[in-house]
């Protein structure tokens, strides 16, 4: 199978994609792309028209040098080789003119929405929104655990977890979401193909539970220069986001905090600061702009799939532009609390909250069997699984046949 690209997408690739190498020819950057796209819109033309040299010469009127445009458009054969290689490696390409391009990116990011998306995995996930978990490059273990727990929480609530890059917050969130059987959108700056063939990734992709997406072509040599776009796209695709703050001065390669400030219109954002008084500047700015505090107590209390933080109507959208004040973007309107109810994938997952409720105090198998009206054999299987999953704990000192189960208190977050 080979997907032939539209002429519009081909031209966008020729003009904007980094096809690799150390050449001096610079593809169009975001602002230049917008400059050209605006000119085309005014002239009622499409990108495909630029295949004809006459239109290309006219397009120089938008302020871009004809010589450069011509050179970029002359990369047709190189592009053929690249597209073949990308598609063979399972990478798909969508441009802003394609119907598959996520509407929410265009709506939320407007002129910052990237002209091209390269991806691998289940493309449809890009349209469903999700819960972004972002943070600086390096975090302490307890803070990383917050990302992990939050991702698991979101996954159990059937929310797609969205992350940027491949540093600690992202790795932890992706791993936890996958373990919980959740769906993941991972926005990468580089290593798109490498990350997609990791064993866990390819299994998740096969199960349609993972999509990797990047604004940079897999051939680009300087992909990390565009790393900040990963944070921005994550926010663009999400309808809720959590920023796990570091302490002191932090490095934020993927521009997570900046993206939240820039693309936060109409979204509910949360910030985890922990008990530390040394809140990073980014986190403080987000809080100043109206982000809610994702507190220890809240997480402890709400550590239940049903208690996933929900966008409330009185949440003040951050950095809202005056003309949009009072409007709730469709992406948010679509979400109601009923959407957030857990959707169990099997009977065990369905019964787990009930087991937790009954195991607030230690219970034997006999007691539980009677309470739940279920056969002991089946019940024992669920209980063993819940112990393995760390949800319940078993009293190790009890004799065979008199074991008691209760909620695993150690499951609570380390503070």
């Amino acid at each position: 199978m080979f997907n032939k690209l539209s002429d519009d997408t081909n031209v966008t690739l020729l003009l904007c994609a980094d096809l690799g190498g150390k050449g001096t020819l610079r593809p169009l950057i975001q602002t230049e792309y917008i400059q050209l796209a605006s000119w085309l819109a005014v002239k009622d033309l499409r990108f495909a028209h630029l295949m004809e040299d006459a239109y290309l010469q006219d397009a120089a009127a938008c302020g871009l040098a004809y010589g450069r445009l011509r050179q970029l458009m002359g990369r047709g054969i190189q592009l053929g080789f690249c597209v073949e290689e990308w598609q063979r490696s399972g990478v798909w390409i969508i441009s802003r003119s394609d119907s598959a391009y996520p509407k929410r990116l265009r709506t939320v990011l407007e002129h910052s929405a990237p002209p091209l998306l390269f991806g691998s995995g289940h493309q449809a996930l890009l349209h469903a929104g999700g819960f972004a978990i972002l943070g600086p490059d390096s975090l302490s273990a307890p803070r990383e655990l917050i990302a992990r727990k939050s991702a698991a929480l979101a996954a159990c609530s059937d929310r797609t977890v969205i992350t940027a890059g491949h540093y600690r917050v992202a790795d932890a969130s992706v791993a936890a979401a996958r373990e919980a059987g959740g769906k993941v959108i991972r926005v990468l700056a580089d290593k798109l193909i490498h990350k997609s063939v990791e064993k866990s990734a390819r299994r998740a992709i096969a199960a349609k539970r993972l999509v990797h997406v990047s604004t940079c072509s897999p051939s680009a040599r300087s992909a990390m220069l565009h790393a900040a776009e990963a944070g921005l796209v994550s926010i663009g695709l999400a309808d809720q986001a959590l920023y796990v703050s570091g302490t002191g001065i932090v490095v934020d390669t993927y521009g997570s905090a900046t993206a939240m400030k820039q693309g936060g219109s109409g979204k509910s954002f949360f910030v985890w600061t922990g008990k530390s008084k040394d809140v990073s500047g980014d986190a403080q700015q987000l809080l100043d702009r109206g982000a809610e505090l994702w507190s220890d107590e809240q997480v402890k209390l709400d550590w239940h799939p049903l208690a996933m933080p929900v966008q409330s109507t009185d949440t003040v959208p951050m950095a809202e532009t005056p003309e949009k004040a009072g409007q709730l973007p469709p992406a948010v309107q679509e979400h109601t609390s009923t959407d957030l109810k857990p959707k169990a994938q099997n009977v065990y997952e369905a019964v787990l909250p009930i087991l937790r409720t009954h195991c607030e105090k230690p219970r034997s198998v006999d007691e539980l069997s009677e309470l739940l009206d279920v056969q002991k054999g089946q019940l024992k299987k669920w209980l063993r699984q819940s112990v393995r999953d760390g949800v319940l704990s078993k009293d190790e000192k009890s004799t065979r046949g008199s074991e008691k189960y209760e909620i695993n208190r150690q499951e609570s977050l380390p503070m």
């Binding site: 031209v11 050179q71 047709g76 190189q78 592009l79 080789f81 073949e84 193909i193």
Partner: protein, 718 residues
């Protein structure tokens, strides 16, 4: 008015009219190439060039020698004059490229090959591309499989590529697998290239089906220029001579009588070596040419050059020498066996007589032809079960597996593993990809299934092609017209020059019995070399000292070069060994005599001082009794010092060298202390790992040189 800046001749021209039209300029370039001041374009040449420089797509179907090279060299020259970027040519054979370079250079174009064998020039080529000093870059389709070319070399090109040339374009529709699988990649590359980029595809051998396929691939709006395939200098004859000895005898007699130099095509490498050695033993300047001739392409290039210079009377080649080899005065093409299709045949026979008035195309066939054809058809695709086992191993791995690691994980021949990986990697999306040296599964791997309908369809086509070749062998009317008709050339008519048109043999088919007898003796007495292995396939096969140097076999543990009486069921001594091993209690004295004779002819130095054997896995006395009788004849002591230490499976069940080496790593022991140079005897050597392991143990026990002597060498690929 479409103008070009000054070219090499300082000409300014226009497309439409005037004293110096673009056609005039192009014609001048043609004259520069051919070195003839009055040369003019053949029908279709200028029309094709004109379309290319108007950035259209063209398929040129013209016979070999028509001048397809002129089309893209002149088009490249004009595009470069206009300031366009260099042309990129994908061509399947190196021989072709060397000829293209000569044509390009005569126009002042700088043409460079970017191929595996000139690795040390890649850096310079990339620099030249960056400086816009290269006009024509040539690659083999296999180069596309290596990331560096796409990721590093192509982006270096300053001013972009102006033209894509796909040579031997019939490979696009040839389902490639038994020829150049990477052409499937070209299909997709060209369909991903935006429609405003010019592409020229050329072929000499395309029937209607192939032309339609290529049009589908390159776009229905592609212009097709198609000409007559008739070769007026070529005189064709078919000769029925099924017995291999008779064919060898006939060749020894007929080749010296044919004028000029030529090519003999065989279906297998083994036959290429056999025929070349036989002719050489008859005083004919003959060499074999195939995929593993010498080391690297230089040797093959030297062989081609030797034929071009008429230093050789004949080159005995497999399909590795074919498309693109250009020697205008080639006097004859002989097929020792029947090629798989009319397309193959026409292509190969078309090498002869391009620049001379008369050349011969002689087709022989043998009883082995059907068996060989069947083998190639059976092995064109790996079986689903083998694909599944490779994918399962990759699926389980995190971070991928190298080829050696795959060999260790699955009991399959290396060649099967490589072929399977190549097949899978060419799918799009591919179930496996190569990241660095490691092969990695993709999500498609878990439920990948080869398309059975596709395989069935392809097999049916191949079978029909075989039948067509059989029909050619039995054809009573004009042989050239048969080929033209088979290739959908509407101009087919009796040639008046072939054996059937004339009603008499062009070359006598009589073979003296003495030559047939000599050929038989030659087959019987062809000894084979046993080359010592230098590396273990995986590190630390066992904790024995012989394996302590990890992958490298320590020099002190290696065997020296040995000999085999023959090959497994090779029609010579191999047949006798096979029969006696199967049906007799021990080997006959005749084999002992032959082995003694071989040793005397061989006369190895240092001379062996004693004889030992590899103990039989089956517990039979074949090898022991043979070695005892052999040693007694030579008056050497026979000392069976090697023992079986652990059970192992037959090496023939182990399918690759990692499995085979591991199978015998702990199988033997040499408990005694030894000294002196020893001759190590075994009856069948499959992969050489048993001999390698036993030789290492003998040397570890104190032996001097260990020289293997085996009755038959059984070649199992991989």
């Amino acid at each position: 008015m479409d103008t070009i800046p000054s070219g090499s001749a300082g000409i300014v021209a226009s497309l439409d009219s005037g004293p110096k039209t673009l056609k005039d300029v192009a014609e001048q370039y043609l004259r520069d190439i051919v070195g003839n001041a009055s040369a003019t374009f053949r029908d279709g040449q200028w029309e094709s060039i004109e379309l290319i420089i108007k950035k259209k797509r063209v398929l040129v179907v013209q016979r070999t020698g028509w001048g397809k090279t002129m089309v893209y060299c002149i088009a490249t020259k004009i595009l470069r004059d206009r300031g366009e970027g260099p042309s990129l040519m994908v061509s399947p054979l190196l021989a072709l490229m060397r000829n293209q370079i000569r044509a390009a250079e005569s126009l002042g174009l700088v043409a460079r090959m970017f191929i595996g064998s000139n690795y040390n020039e890649w850096g310079d080529i990339e620099k030249e591309l960056a400086q816009d000093k290269t006009d024509l870059l040539m690659i083999t389709p296999e180069r596309l499989a290596h990331g560096r070319f796409v990721r590093r070399t192509l982006p270096r090109i300053t001013g972009n590529l102006g033209l894509l040339i796909i040579d031997e374009a019939h490979c696009i529709s040839d389902w490639g697998h038994d020829f150049r699988p990477d052409y499937r990649r070209i299909q997709r590359v060209q369909s991903a290239i935006p429609r405003n980029v010019p592409i020229v595809a050329t072929t000499a051998t395309a029937n209607n089906r192939v032309v339609e396929d290529v049009r589908d691939q390159l776009g229905r709006n592609i212009a097709v220029h198609r000409g007559s395939l008739v070769r007026k200098s070529l005189r064709l004859q078919t000769i029925t001579m099924p017995d291999a000895k008779a064919r060898l005898g006939w060749l020894a007699q007929a080749v010296p009588q044919l004028g000029g130099s030529g090519i003999i095509y065989t279906l297998t490498r083994k036959d290429s070596d056999l025929v070349a050695d036989w002719l050489a033993s008859n005083g004919i300047r003959a060499r074999s040419y195939h995929g593993s001739s010498g080391r690297g392409d230089n040797t093959r290039e030297e062989l081609e050059q030797a034929l071009l210079n008429n230093d050789l009377k004949v080159l005995v080649a497999t399909v590795a020498l074919g498309m693109g080899f250009d020697k205008p005065d080639l006097g004859f093409i002989i097929h020792y066996q029947r090629p798989p299709s009319v397309i193959h045949y026409y292509q190969q026979v078309g090498r002869a007589g391009r620049g001379i008035a008369e050349a011969f195309g002689l087709l022989l066939w043998g009883t082995e032809d059907d068996r060989i054809a069947e083998y190639f058809m059976d092995n064109a695709f790996p079986e689903q079960e083998k694909i599944r086992s490779i994918l399962a191993a990759l699926n389980e791995a995190d971070g991928g597996l190298t080829l050696k690691e795959i060999e260790a994980a699955v009991n399959l021949k290396r060649s099967i593993i490589e072929k399977t990986l190549k097949l899978l990697a060419l799918e799009s999306p591919a179930p496996v990809i190569q990241v660095g040296r490691a092969w990695t599964a993709r999500e498609e791997a878990s439920d990948y299934q080869i398309d059975p309908e596709y395989i069935t369809r392809l097999r049916e086509i191949r079978e029909a092609e075989q039948v067509q070749m059989q029909n050619y062998m039995n054809h009573q009317d004009c042989l050239m017209a048969f080929l033209q008709t088979a290739l959908d050339d509407g101009t087919a008519d009796n040639c008046g020059r072939c054996r059937n048109c004339l009603g008499q043999d062009l070359v006598p088919v009589y073979v003296p019995q003495s030559l047939v007898h000599q050929a038989r003796q030659f087959i019987l007495n062809r000894a084979r070399h046993i080359f010592p292995r230098r590396e273990w396939p995986t590190p630390l096969l066992s904790d024995h000292a012989i394996h302590s140097d990890e992958e490298c076999i320590s020099v002190g543990f290696r065997a020296v070069r040995g000999r085999a009486l023959g090959g497994w069921r090779d029609g010579g001594w191999g047949d006798l060994v096979w029969r006696e091993r199967q049906f007799e209690a021990q080997y006959s004295p005749r084999l002992v005599e032959v082995a003694v004779q071989l040793l005397r002819q061989w006369n190895p130095y240092p001379r062996p001082q004693w004889v030992t054997t590899v103990p039989s896995r089956r517990g039979t006395q074949h090898v022991g009794a043979f070695a005892q009788a052999f040693a007694a004849t030579l008056k050497l002591p026979y000392i069976p010092v090697v023992e079986r230490a652990n059970a192992c499976r037959p090496q023939s069940e182990m399918k690759n060298h990692v499995q085979r080496a591991a199978n015998v790593a702990n199988a033997f022991a040499v408990p005694a202390h030894c000294r002196g140079d020893v001759l190590l005897i075994d009856d069948v050597s499959v992969s050489g790992w048993t001999l390698t392991t036993v030789a290492a143990l003998l040397r570890h026990a104190g032996c001097g040189s260990v020289r293997p002597l085996v009755l038959v060498k059984r070649d199992l690929a991989g």
